[in-house]
């Protein structure tokens, strides 16, 4: 069988597994729909959290981004794992003890205010939609590249699958499907990584291979060789960063506390039976996540090394097949500026913008790039997203590994999309309908509205995936900044600062959210030409601004709460209660 038939088989097998699990674990009550009945084992919950968390961005894009950023890629590695320490130590156990369904539930109850609840719902929906649109797009891209299905139909198939298990199964269906999806995606990530590590260094553990000597007799370690090769071509050394220290600091902080403030991650800790299980879940989740996140930098470094060595100064007619196949899809473009028939790879953009191709091929068979060339020596355009997807081809791995990677990327995208859709539908049916605008709902009616909201959310997400307004891809990364600046401080202060009250929390959330949104919108849409370090506030890029937003949120909340009336006694008692693990109950639909 060829790679494409194998991919069909792998994808079909994994999809039937997910659907089978969804039917087996259908939800019958709001409790099961929202928090899987509160009875998920910590290890299963850890795997589900890991799959929920690791999106198409982690699976497909991250290693490629690291490959091209070198040291600076650490912001994602530390940012997206360090958040779990915050989550485990500062949030998860207390939110589990609190024992309701949603993040707005906590904020609404802790700050005895419907306004606070609605503000939290608005933050949550903004964060989740920016995030989910990117996932559906990821599903579409994998379908179109590996299975030759148009992106439109790829997204439709993805929507149908998510519909099956999110709408029928709710949290219960999602949890057990995510366990299966974790297994698929981690296997699909590790297998090619191990192969490539063997190939480059002779050591099968990528984490160790990254520090080992290259098996080409040069006696250099992988990283030294990369530094040497890249600086010779005019790039910055791989192990040196290009960003300023303050920006690296701010982005890492925004990603960490943003992770801890993401509603679809937090809600996973409502599904375990006990407070101590919430702590354990976070620990297991981070082990499962760390497995991929410590492998990614190795994949990135090997890929960059392979990439440079394969293409630089190679005659186009002799270059490896994968270069041409990705060129055919349009994710690689080559402009032979010095007309020597060889590919030269240097820093800088080869031509302006993303490549557009003319209808005819050049004499050597390469595609004719129409873009205006730049003055740099670089002749190659390469889309960073192809690194993980192309890796098995670059390393000439068997076809079944390529099929596996396709199934793994779909698992990563679908599991995250489902988790996000669930928190969107829950916050609409539970927080907006039941708790705010339609208080008399029965359990059965609420479940109906939850499913209705899930269907609507899937529809909107699918639309955004098929026809993304130009900004979706850019905005996805900012979901973290928004979560960091709005929800995280309100939750943290709600647990650790008894004196915190309604006024402080609401003003803090709004100020953090509006400040970060404005800053991002200014540099991304209003005045994108000034989006560089000299114009940034304190040298912090829009990616890292969430950490400053969080500081503003904290300061305002603390000052205002000290000038206004303290929280009522029953809320003080609630805070005392959530600080003690004893007496935990099942999540209740109060």
């Amino acid at each position: 069988m060829d790679a494409q038939s194998l991919t069909y088989v792998f994808v079909a097998l994994s999809f039937s597994l997910y659907i089978g699990i969804a039917i087996w674990s259908r939800a019958g009550s709001t409790n099961e729909f929202y928090v899987a009945g509160g009875g998920v084992h910590p290890i299963a919950n850890g795997m589900a959290t890991a799959a929920d968390w690791m999106s198409a961005a982690s699976f497909i894009s991250m290693a490629g981004i690291i490959a091209f950023m070198g040291y600076d890629g650490a912001v994602y590695l530390m940012g997206w794992t360090g958040g779990y320490v915050i989550l485990a130590l500062l949030l998860a156990p207390y939110l589990r003890k609190f024992g309701q369904f949603t993040v707005p539930d906590f904020i609404g109850t802790r700050y005895y205010s419907t306004t606070a609840r609605v503000v939290a719902v608005v933050c949550l929906i903004l964060i989740s939609f920016t995030y989910v649109a990117g996932q559906m797009r990821g599903v579409g891209i994998v379908f179109s590249q590996f299975l030759n299905i148009p992106i439109f139909w790829g997204v439709i198939v993805g929507m149908a699958i998510v519909f099956m298990y999110a709408v029928l199964g709710g949290m219960k269906g999602i949890t057990y499907t995510q366990v299966a999806q974790y297994c698929v995606l981690i296997f699909a990530y590790l297998v090619p990584a191990i192969f490539i590590s063997m190939l480059v260094t002779g050591i099968p553990v990528p984490q160790i291979g990254l520090g080992a000597e290259v098996a080409d007799g040069s006696g250099l370690s992988v990283l030294d060789k990369l530094d040497q090769t890249l600086t010779e071509l005019g790039f910055a050394a791989y192990t040196q960063g290009g960003k300023s220290t303050i920006d690296v600091f701010a982005i890492t902080m925004a990603l960490m506390i943003g992770t801890a403030g993401l509603p679809h991650v937090i809600v996973r800790f409502f599904t375990v039976p006990k407070v101590s299980d919430a702590r354990k879940s976070a620990g297991y989740a981070l082990i499962f996540i760390a497995l991929l996140y410590t492998t990614a930098p190795a994949v990135g470094a090997f890929a960059r090394l392979n990439f440079v060595e394969t293409i630089h100064n190679t005659q186009y007619t002799d270059v490896a097949g994968w270069f041409k196949s990705w060129e055919n899809i349009g994710l690689i473009g080559w402009e032979d500026k010095n007309e020597d028939g060889r590919i030269q790879y240097h820093p800088g953009a080869p031509f302006e913008g993303k490549p557009t191709f003319g209808p005819d091929r050049r004499a050597d068979g390469s595609r004719d790039v129409l873009n205006t060339p730049t003055t740099s020596d670089n002749e190659v355009y390469v889309d960073r997203d192809i690194m993980v997807l192309a890796n098995p081809e670059i390393a000439a791995l068997p076809d079944w590994v390529i099929a596996l990677v396709a199934a793994g990327s779909l698992a990563a995208a679908l599991s995250t999309a489902a988790g996000l859709l669930l928190v969107i539908s829950t916050s609409v049916s539970h927080d907006l309908m039941k708790k705010t605008f339609a208080k008399g709902l029965t359990d059965r009616q609420e479940l109906f509205y939850a499913r209705l909201a899930a269907v609507t959310a899937i529809g909107i997400a699918g639309y955004l995936g098929i026809d993304p307004p130009g900004f979706v891809a850019q905005v996805v990364a900012f979901a973290f900044g928004l979560a960091a600046a709005s929800l995280f401080p309100a939750i943290l202060l709600g647990i650790f600062d008894k004196r915190m009250n309604r006024e402080g929390a609401i003003v803090g959330m709004l100020a953090g959210l509006i400040f970060s949104l404005t800053y991002i919108a200014y540099f991304k849409f209003v005045s994108p030409e000034t989006n560089s370090a000299e114009y940034w506030l304190l040298g912090i890029s829009p990616e890292g601004i969430g950490s400053l937003g969080a500081v503003i949120n904290f300061v305002l909340a603390l000052v205002i709460s000290r000038c206004t009336a303290p929280a009522p006694d029953h809320v003080m008692a609630l805070v005392d209660n959530i600080r003690i693990p004893k007496g935990v109950s099942e999540p209740q639909n109060h």
Partner: protein
């Protein structure tokens, strides 16, 4: 809050303080602020600062959570506030 629970909370905060200082030191300290200095030191084929930023910090994060789980369990039992009914109902634990 009664004295017992107050004591539990203070002990909890102390533990959090220690663990979060380690969390900050390995990531923001070794991985970002001191990365240039540490990069002068070779470490199993890595530059040490680079290793902390792309590998070491993550391993410490995992370890920190499990140390936390273990120490909190002890603390829960010591103050008789564990959510495990068999243990917390035992008067000797209080």
């Amino acid at each position: 809050m009664n004295d017992n629970n107050n004591g539990y909370w203070k002990a909890n905060l102390r533990l959090l303080g220690i663990l979060l200082s380690i969390w900050f030191t390995v990531s923001f300290g070794f991985g970002i602020l001191l990365v240039e200095e540490l990069n002068q030191i070779p470490f199993f084929g890595f530059k040490l600062g680079f290793w902390w930023a792309q590998q070491g910090a993550i391993y410490v994060f995992v370890a920190l959570i499990f140390v936390y789980i273990h120490l909190m369990q002890k603390l829960d039992r010591q103050y008789g506030v564990s959510d495990d009914e068999d243990e917390s109902s035992n008067p000797e634990d209080v």
